[in-house]
């Protein structure tokens, strides 16, 4: 059983105990502990259950690569699942619970899966998806649904605060081990701006645990000196607890700073996302040790050798009283030596190599540790914890030679450079035979905008596995980066380092090498997703030769740890099964983030009220004070209706429509887009932009226009007013102004750049109020100052002047079918004009109305709405708008497209009105069913509803829709089926339901 040692622990402050809770039990650790080290110190080596078989799982690693120790952390609004215990610093009051078990960690029903594991092979999901169908629906799906996923989704709104931070630097160094520190020193020597980030709370990486000497000093002393130097340098910024999450195009890098995870409630933001732009990036991300594939390598108590000595040296945690070390390299002997030095027992070191004669094996022998070469673990004994190992020959098939009792196993299959960040943006890898790992190919680095490589690696991340080579490589990387930026590189050489000499590694991908099926079914590759050696071999037998396919078929490396421990081992097993070289099989793609980052950090401050900018009209506050129910329209907020006390929303809308039709309504139309098009060629230009002829419009007059894309589809509509010979004002839909302005500019700048035209989007310069209803003229006359009579200002005319003292432009246009004026004033006068209209309008029965009343009134008149009657596949001809398409023009955007065979097909659905036979309101978006079936055997559809409302004016449901041959089928009744099996019959009628002669608006 694991426990706390009486002395030692580099990271611990034993004067600061920290009480925390795991699965409801209070436990104690020290400041400096991670949750993992504290759990181990309390004898909790089993921390979770695996995903598929619910096997007991213990802590395997000591850092970001940990696959097993995932916990639910926090409670309520601070709850978060899948937090790695190995990277969670403990604090007083921390609450964690283990995941993926029911009813308890010790007794778990899902572990039954383990007993039926031979029925859950690789590709299980795919196979059950295919056949038999009934089994999927009634047996597998319910089981999978119950057991799918690790952890729980948080239920409450996240109470924490997050932020984004922008940073620009010459050189970014990712990783604060000795390589990162030296690379930063070298890069900063000549004044370049350097940012150095380290994912953990401690600087220095592995060197203090692994030993050696740097410039004649202990690594820890050298690290502190280097840090002091960097802290003093004005051109260097350093940050702990900040992970390099992803490297993106042209030197864009995301850093993930965990500011207050370990100090919750101290008012600081919890996480900060660094949005870094660096001219050069150096990844000094170290290496990760690989597990060995032997039977039972997932039993709690089996741990990476390097992690084990981290726990001993950094956290004073004994992983067990008796630890068997199993390895294929010299490095693992460091663990045996560390354990022995801590007073713990190492009954044997099993070295799969035929001989072990390096400095470290010799030192271990000198300590009296038994070393067995050419030996392997046949299987680990124990269920919820290790009780012993059975030993066999590595060369054989697993015949047991000896059994040794132990309570922990330290394994080392060699090291793999952390190449993730190098690879994110296209850096390529080469297979290193001697080291048995993939390492970055410096000749094929990611390329920046200037065509130069912008990522380099340093130290172990380059595949340099000794202290001396690591420091030399890092020094060189820093200098190269500095030189690439045009700075002279420092003249100081790399620090000199010494270390015990290590013998060569022998790759071991399976232990023993001749293991039979029974053993292979207990060799875990991917602990989190429960992928075994036998699964990958099965995938290969079933024809999955591509590593990417095998990954998806077996789910190898697809868990939250993204296969940090399993990828290379799995790939080696696959290449063995395919009898192909490892480099020929290749790796899967490395994708950001390096480890999962919080959704909160990605969102940053963009939540709640500041999720996105809100556009407010000058009259916004009045609406807010007068019961407006807001409707988002693009980034604008428009009043949907103004609800009065005791009214329902529907009541309010009905009242607004009736009042506008009978008396007087006011609409804040300020959100309508307004674009000025000016210049000698403005008319010619608008003739191309609109389907109508705009160049013939007379100054002082307005014309309704349609805009199409070059593909012929209707994209916007609105009223155009000609101000003078050279100037037009084009109204666009609310929210369409920016898009349409961009559209105009694209054509002006990229196609007709010799035309003399300027455009300006003046949407926000003006407030615009629609004054609508039979009393509209009366109220404007009461304001006084302009002649708004039918003679002076006829329908579709506009005039400038002063009305009621306001500088106004009045358009006589109508989107409701009523007598209507739209009064535009400078934005600064908008609210005052609105107030005056409300005040003056009292005797005329004025009421404001919202967007829903606007919609109903336009639908009663059969006016189309972009986005309702159009969806990007509708042409004006579909909507009966041929009258707005000029026949005289040679060309306009969309004209050629509208002549294509599909566009002129007489079977295109066309706009009609729809009236239910019982007066009810048709469901929005409903489809009309025809007779018979289509070529896929589906029932044919012959139309759909595009707009549907209850009309208070007509006291019945009205709708518009696109219907096959609709205009030719007036009076016919068609059926609109509902989801519940019922169908609503509706009669095809003219889309103009109200005042078809236009007598109301033209008075």
């Amino acid at each position: 059983m694991s426990t706390r040692l009486a002395t030692g622990g580099r990271f611990l402050d034993r004067n600061q105990p920290r009480v925390f809770t795991f699965n409801g039990t209070d436990l104690s650790g020290f400041a400096g502990d991670t949750l993992a080290s504290a759990l181990l110190a309390n004898g909790r080596s089993m921390v979770g259950r695996s995903f598929k078989y619910h096997r007991p799982r213990g802590i395997v690693a000591s850092g970001a690569e940990e696959p097993n120790a995932l916990v639910n952390l926090g409670q309520g609004a601070a709850f978060e699942p899948n937090q790695r215990a190995t990277t969670t610093e403990i604090f007083a009051g921390l609450k964690a619970e283990s995941q993926n078990h029911w009813p308890s960690l010790e007794f778990d029903i899902g572990a039954l899966n383990n007993l039926v594991s031979r029925f859950l092979p690789a590709g299980f999901y795919y196979k059950t998806f295919i056949h038999p169908r009934a089994a999927w629906k009634h047996v597998f799906e319910p089981i999978i649904r119950h057991s799918a996923g690790l952890g729980r989704a948080p239920k409450e709104r996240d109470a924490d605060r997050y932020e984004h931070f922008y940073h620009f630097t010459d050189v970014l160094v990712i990783g604060g081990g000795v390589a990162g520190l030296q690379a930063a020193r070298a890069a900063a020597a000549d004044g370049g701006r350097v940012l150095l980030i380290e994912q953990s709370a401690q600087w220095g990486g592995r060197a203090p645990v692994d030993g050696g000497q740097i410039d004649g000093k202990d690594p820890e002393v050298w690290i502190n000196d280097a840090l002091e130097e960097l802290e003093k340098a004005p051109n260097v910024t350093i940050r702990r607890r900040t992970m390099g999450s992803g490297v993106y195009d042209h030197g864009y890098v995301l850093g993930y700073e965990r500011i207050a995870d370990h100090t919750p409630g101290d008012t600081r933001p919890r996480h900060r996302l660094w949005r870094i732009r660096a001219a050069r990036v150096i990844t000094a991300t170290g290496a990760i040790e690989r597990p060995l594939s032997f039977a039972g390598n997932d039993i709690p108590g089996v741990m990476l050798a390097s992690a084990m000595r981290d726990y001993v040296v950094n956290y004073a945690v004994s992983p067990g009283d008796r630890t068997v070390v199993v390895t294929n390299n010299d490095d693992a002997y460091r663990t045996a030596i560390a354990l022995k030095n801590a007073g713990l027992d190492v009954p044997v070191i099993l070295d799969a190599r035929p001989q072990a004669e390096g400095d470290l094996p010799r030192a271990a022998r000198d300590l009296g540790i038994r070393i067995e070469t050419g030996r392997a673990i046949a299987r680990v004994k124990g269920r919820k914890s290790v009780t012993g190992v059975a030993i066999c020959a590595q060369a054989g098939e697993g015949a047991v030679l000896e059994e040794i009792a132990c309570d922990a196993v330290a394994m080392s299959g060699g090291w793999s450079p952390v190449v993730h960040l190098w690879s994110h943006c296209g850096g390529k890898l080469i297979w290193d035979e001697a080291g048995a790992f993939f390492r970055p190919d410096p000749d094929r680095a990611p390329i920046s905008h200037d065509g130069q490589p912008f990522v380099a690696t340093a130290g172990a991340a380059s595949g340099q596995m000794t202290l001396a080579e690591t420091l030399k490589d890092a020094d060189s990387a820093g200098k190269v980066a500095s030189r690439a930026l045009g700075l002279a590189a420092g003249r100081k050489g790399a620090p000199k380092a010494s270390q015990p000499q290590e013998g060569p590694i022998t790759p071991v991908w399976m232990m023993p090498q001749g293991a039979g099926p029974a053993l292979r079914q207990k060799m875990w590759l991917d602990y989190q997703n429960d992928v075994k050696v036998s699964d990958v071999q099965l995938a290969a037998r079933e024809g999955y030769e591509s590593v990417e396919h095998t990954k998806r078929y077996t789910t190898l490396g697809m868990a939250t740890d993204q296969g940090k421990l399993s990828n290379i081992n799995g790939l080696a097993v696959l290449s063995g099964a395919l009898q192909n070289d490892i480099p020929a099989v290749g790796t899967t793609t490395f994708r950001p983030p390096y480890t999962p980052i919080s959704m909160g950090a990605i969102a940053g401050e963009a939540r709640g009220d500041i999720f996105q900018p809100i556009r407010r009209t000058p009259i916004h506050d009045w609406h807010d004070d007068n019961g407006a129910e807001w409707e988002p329209v693009g980034q604008w907020r428009r009043p949907y209706t103004y609800r009065r006390a005791g009214e329902s929303t529907h009541d309010a809308v009905m009242r607004e429509v009736k009042n506008t039709r009978q008396h007087l309504g006011l609409l804040d139309a300020s959100t309508l887009g307004k674009i000025i098009v000016k210049g000698p060629d403005a008319g010619r230009f608008l003739d191309m932009i609109y389907t109508n002829m705009m160049s013939t419009l007379k100054p002082g007059r307005c014309r309704y226009g349609l805009m199409c894309s070059e593909n012929g589809f209707l994209i916007d509509d609105g009223v155009v007013a000609r101000i003078d010979d050279d100037t037009f004002l084009c109204h666009t839909t609310t929210g369409g102004a920016e898009r349409i302005h961009g559209h105009m500019e694209e054509w002006l700048q990229t196609e007709w750049w010799d035309w003399k035209v300027y455009t300006a989007n003046i949407t926000e310069q003006l407030a615009q109020i629609a004054v609508v209803g039979p009393n509209a003229r009366k109220i404007l006359e009461a304001l006084g100052g302009m002649d708004v009579s039918a003679d002076a200002l006829p329908f579709m005319a506009w005039a400038d002047g002063q009305i009621g003292g306001f500088d106004a432009r009045i358009y006589r246009i109508s989107f409701s079918g009523e007598l209507s004026y739209e009064v535009a004033v400078p934005a600064s006068q908008g609210r005052a004009l609105w107030d005056r209209l409300i005040e003056t309008g009292q005797e005329f029965g004025v009421m404001p109305y919202g967007t829903e009343a606007l919609h109903i009134m336009r639908a009663e008149k059969g006016f189309i709405m972009i986005g309702d009657e159009t969806d990007g596949t509708v042409i004006p001809q579909d909507l009966g708008l041929n009258w707005a398409i000029s026949k005289k023009k040679d060309d306009y955007l969309g004209k050629r497209a509208q002549a294509r065979s599909h566009m002129t097909d007489p079977d295109r659905w066309k706009l009609v009105g729809l009236e239910t036979t019982d007066g009810s309101v048709l469901p929005d978006g409903a489809y009309a069913r025809g007779s018979g079936t289509n070529e896929n055997g589906q029932k044919t559809v012959i139309g759909r509803v595009t707009s549907t409302y209850y009309s208070p004016t007509l006291d019945k449901g009205i709708a518009m829709g696109l219907v096959l041959n609709g205009p030719d089928r007036m009076g016919e009744v068609i059926n609109f089926p509902a989801l519940d099996g019922s169908a609503t019959p509706a009669r095809i009628v003219s889309p103009v339901f109200y005042d078809p002669e236009g007598e109301k608006q033209n008075v």
């Binding site: 042209h250 390329i447 905008h449 694209e746 700048q749 990229t750 750049w753 050629r896 294509r900």
Partner: protein, 108 residues
């Protein structure tokens, strides 16, 4: 996230400042064009693995459209230039030739 330099205002900005507008140097086919010519103009686009000429707008900046010569494979930018031209300027072609010896337009 790419870095581009707007040739109109001179600002070197992040990709989020810009709006991509697809292939540059399109030759418009209008009324009177054959179905084939119109289809080629409206729908057929180059999709090269390598040098590509694109239309961009400095949408959150000066608002101007411009062209960029870019490598779709390595993402390096050979140059940006005015949209008011029917072909890439010589200095951009020279920059491409320097980085991609033997490259010819259209891959011929």
């Amino acid at each position: 996230m790419l870095i581009l330099t707007c040739p109109c205002c001179g600002v070197t900005g992040e990709e989020t400042e810009f709006h991509a507008g697809g292939q540059a140097h399109l030759q418009r086919s209008g009324p009177g064009a054959s179905d084939e010519a119109f289809e080629a103009y409206l729908f057929a686009r180059e999709n090269p693995r390598g040098v590509h000429f694109e239309r961009w707008r400095h949408a959150n900046g000066c608002g101007k459209w411009f062209h960029a010569a870019r490598c779709t494979l390595t993402l390096e930018v050979f140059g940006t230039y005015s949209a008011q031209t029917t072909q890439p300027p010589q200095e951009v072609l020279d920059a491409i030739a320097k980085r991609r010896p033997g490259w010819t337009e259209g891959g011929k």
